[in-house]
Symmetry: C2
Subunit: 288 residues, 2 copies
């Protein structure tokens, strides 16, 4: 099965558990709506690519880790879109969860997805039970406080924002989790893989900033120009389009340079080149 199919299958299994008989029907519907259809599934792809580069001796474990990371990503999108944060009406070319189901169900959908992430992990990691504690720890660290995506979002409520902590937590943490969890899922030491994830997270953040400034809503599936509207820092606004594209190129090369020695190093390089192309919508790819 190709990587994309593996990811959709394991996510479908996770969502099926959450919508099992007895579930409140609207909550079940909202959970599926928040996860499918997905975006490029960049984080779980990265997780599985690293696992493969490390031998992937237990595919059920690496798939569970990949799914957990994507479920947490989906949860963060649902909560970040809420009226009390970005108040985003659209996401992935359709109404955001709170626009479609109301604020109460959007709050609960995010909550249920966070729980489902850890449940999926525990259910999938059966052949290598001693890897579970490490994986829960690595993935929880990327999700919660002090330095995960929840903390990243919380910096927006602080009177003084540490910009590096903010972007590292809000975007970098889950990319770093994708690489370290991929390694840990395959029984390899996770730490050497963190820098790669952090570089890719930083590159993704620049690409996202470029999209926000340069693309129309139809192409990116959510309103454009939100950073300016919400007063958030944006690399393309700070460095100009040319400067931001230069920075993106630099970060991509840095990511390739920091791939740790492993059997699948060449394949990993190809994968990262392919993934970083996915970061940007078609209209910007020609410029990069």
């Amino acid at each position: 099965m190709d990587v994309g199919r593996r990811i959709e299958t394991v996510l479908d299994n996770a969502v099926s558990h959450a919508e099992a008989p007895g579930a409140p029907p609207l909550l079940a519907e909202a959970i599926r709506y928040a996860v499918f259809p997905g975006g490029h599934r960049i984080r779980p792809r990265l997780c599985l690519a690293v696992a493969l580069a490390c031998g992937d001796d237990d595919p059920a474990t690496s798939e569970a880790a990949a799914a957990a990371i994507e479920l947490l990503h989906c949860a963060s999108l649902v909560h970040d879109d809420l009226p009390c944060f970005d108040d985003a009406p659209m996401r992935r070319q359709k109404p955001s969860v709170h626009a479609a189901f109301g604020v109460p169900l959007a709050v609960l959908t995010g909550d249920a997805l966070i729980v489902a992430a850890f449940e999926t992990l525990a259910r999938g990691v059966t052949r290598s039970p001693t890897r579970l504690a490490g994986l829960v720890g690595l993935i929880a660290r990327a999700a919660g406080s002090p330095a995960g995506i929840v903390a990243g979002q919380a910096w927006e409520s602080e009177p003084y924002v540490d910009l590096v902590e903010y972007q590292q937590a809000k975007t970098g943490a889950l990319f770093a989790a994708a690489t370290v969890a991929g390694a840990a899922a395959a029984g390899a030491p996770p730490l050497p893989w963190r820098l790669l994830g952090e570089c890719l997270g930083a590159a993704y953040q620049v690409a996202d900033d470029l999209r926000d400034v340069a693309c129309r809503q139809e192409e990116i599936g959510k309103p454009a120009g939100r950073d300016a509207t919400l007063g958030r820092p944006n690399a393309a606004a700070l460095l100009g389009m040319g400067g931001a594209l230069e920075r993106l190129k630099h970060l991509t090369q840095e990511a390739i340079d920091v791939i740790p020695p492993c059997r699948g190093q060449d394949a990993m390089r190809t994968e990262i080149e392919a993934q970083t192309r996915l970061f940007m919508p078609a209209s910007l790819r020609a410029m990069a």
Copy 2:
């Protein structure tokens, strides 16, 4: 160390991790505010009591399970109090989290507490790693969809509410988790302990309904009469005070009757009698 101290210590450790250097200061403050000072800590007490009744051969594991359950309980209080749900201005004799810190930080505090629950579990279960997957599964089941506290809250957004599913999910699930996780943490089969948790959950729900109808805000630390205001079912309103007290007595006896055979059966009976007295505020205890 007595049980109460053990619970506060393990919760303090969990919160300390979430507020470690690098955390957004207001988020860190809100997380601690949501967990301390606590209520009666009924669920973690129950979890530790069951673990003890089953031999408690790995106290770090049972403490981690107890803390995870209490953190999830605190998360649910923070989110349920939000303006889009109960819009509760007070909780545990002080302003609710959103009243004190604003809605965005209240959403994120709940999210961070859910993540912290699983992180605490993974960190604490080190001596018996093969117990971790089961514990994550049992506790996640009580928290998420289809039948955990998130699902319970989601029934309030449904046009047709299944009352049994609603109360079982909203209150019963976490009590059941406390008993089954207590057994699993001690390496005992969890399933025989589920019924005890469900009985106690049902008893607690009746006691909570009685408090809502019969007590003043000063005594219960949150506004009284909310069920009538919010149009929610309430046993004291349905059965009358006398009927509800009768039902509470019946459920407490049933709980005692269904304690599974175990070394600590007598101590367990004493503990349950003590706990069910805690369910009710002083002004109602004389009537029960």
